[in-house]
């Protein structure tokens, strides 16, 4: 702490900081969040060499990923339901990116974006008790935050893709977040 005070103004402006969730536009205290939240940062993704969202999720306690060599399927708390991840709400920058056909979330290489573009993944598990009562209300929520510059770069590549991805491109032009949600 005292070392920071000793720094010159120039040094202070050059100091890289660990940003907190509160620095984003959407603010919520973790104590007020409806469920437990796991956060995976870009640094971790780089350090562990995760190449797909499935890799990222596999590294999180309570999640497991299976693969039929076509798609990757996400399970939580030891249960995977055998559907196309349609109980997972995937939000990129606050925009839903589950596909229109099966309502499924692509977490493997079919996912819209390169994981290098992800600033952070937030995994919000749904309330555990409701699993027993009503499985469909168990919410898992992920959020990916994109850097502004990188988001702009991805916008260029996204405009060439089919219209199902347009929600991402509209998000990329203004905010610097990418956000994913899972409904389980």
């Amino acid at each position: 702490m005292t070392s920071l005070v000793g720094l010159s103004l120039e040094e202070l402006t050059a100091t890289k900081v660990d940003t907190v969730y509160a620095a984003s536009k959407y603010e919520q205290k973790t104590t007020e969040a409806p469920s437990s939240v796991s956060i995976i940062t870009q640094d971790e993704i780089q350090r562990y060499g995760h190449r797909t969202l499935a890799d990222v999720l596999q590294s999180v306690q309570g999640f497991h990923v299976s693969n039929d060599r076509n798609y990757a399927f996400l399970g939580a708390r030891g249960i995977s339901l055998g559907d196309f991840n349609s109980r997972v709400l995937l939000l990129v920058d606050g925009h839903r990116v589950n596909n229109n056909l099966t309502d499924g979330a692509f977490i493997d290489t079919a996912f819209l974006l390169d994981v290098d573009l992800i600033d952070r993944v937030e995994i919000i598990r749904g309330p555990g008790t409701t699993v027993a009562i009503e499985a469909s209300t168990n919410l898992v929520d992920w959020q990916l935050w994109l850097r502004r510059t990188r988001a702009t770069a991805s916008l260029a590549s996204l405009t060439r893709t089919p219209p199902t991805t347009r929600c991402v491109s509209t998000a990329a032009h203004k905010c610097h977040e990418l956000r994913l949600c899972i409904l389980k």
């Binding site: 702490m1 005292t2 920071l4 202070l12 402006t13 900081v17 660990d18 940003t19 620095a23």
Partner: protein, 197 residues
């Protein structure tokens, strides 16, 4: 040393192995040291912002009417939830700015906070920013916030995160209007300075 060990006669081998082992230990030690250096946590965003607040207190001159007596402390007010935790309190305890002690006070959004010199408007009162600024209009208070567009709204300093570094914008016009003298040192490192005069 390792290679020397490998190419010597069998008689010499134990000594060579020994040297190899020593080398291995050394390499491992260096590796762990480097990793440790790599893993040293970056300072938190609000630790750096607290250090900036302290620097603002050092590099802004308040008019004589705001600091009447010699022993008067520079009061840093936090409106709304305090994001700094111990970081700012520790600075206040250990440091002085312009030969004056630093005092931290906490306010709610609707409280009268005009007795402070530097006022940080926390994110939790972002919605009331305009109202608070209006109440303080014309007073020699250095208002600081993280809200986007704060300097254009009539605030003096706005924090911004750029590529994981903390930067700030200054509205020099407002500062001058209310009688604050912002040091050129601050102006020099600011990301942008609004100066309409």
């Amino acid at each position: 040393m390792i290679f020397h060990g490998h190419f010597t006669t069998p008689l010499c081998e134990p000594a060579g192995r020994e040297a190899g082992r020593g080398m291995k230990t050394l390499c491992l030690t260096i590796f762990f040291l480097l990793t440790a250096v790599n893993l040293i946590a970056r300072p938190g965003e609000y630790e750096v912002k607290a250090a900036f607040l302290f620097n603002f207190a050092r590099f802004v001159e308040w008019p004589a009417k705001a600091l009447v007596r010699n022993g008067d402390p520079i009061v840093i007010g936090i409106v709304g939830d305090d994001p700094f935790g111990d970081a700012l309190l520790q600075i206040a305890k250990e440091q002085t700015a312009q030969g004056r002690k630093i005092e931290i006070r906490y306010y709610k959004a609707d409280e009268d906070c005009s007795a402070s010199h530097l006022l940080f408007l926390s994110r939790s009162v972002a919605a009331q920013t305009e109202e608070i600024l209006q109440r303080l209009q014309g007073r020699p208070i250095l208002t600081v916030s993280e809200k986007e567009g704060f300097v254009r709204q009539g605030g003096v300093i706005e924090f911004a995160l750029v590529e994981k570094t903390v930067r700030f914008d200054i509205n020099a016009t407002i500062a001058m209007q209310v009688g604050l003298k912002v040091s050129s040192k601050l102006l020099a490192v600011a990301r942008s300075v609004i100066n309409s005069s």
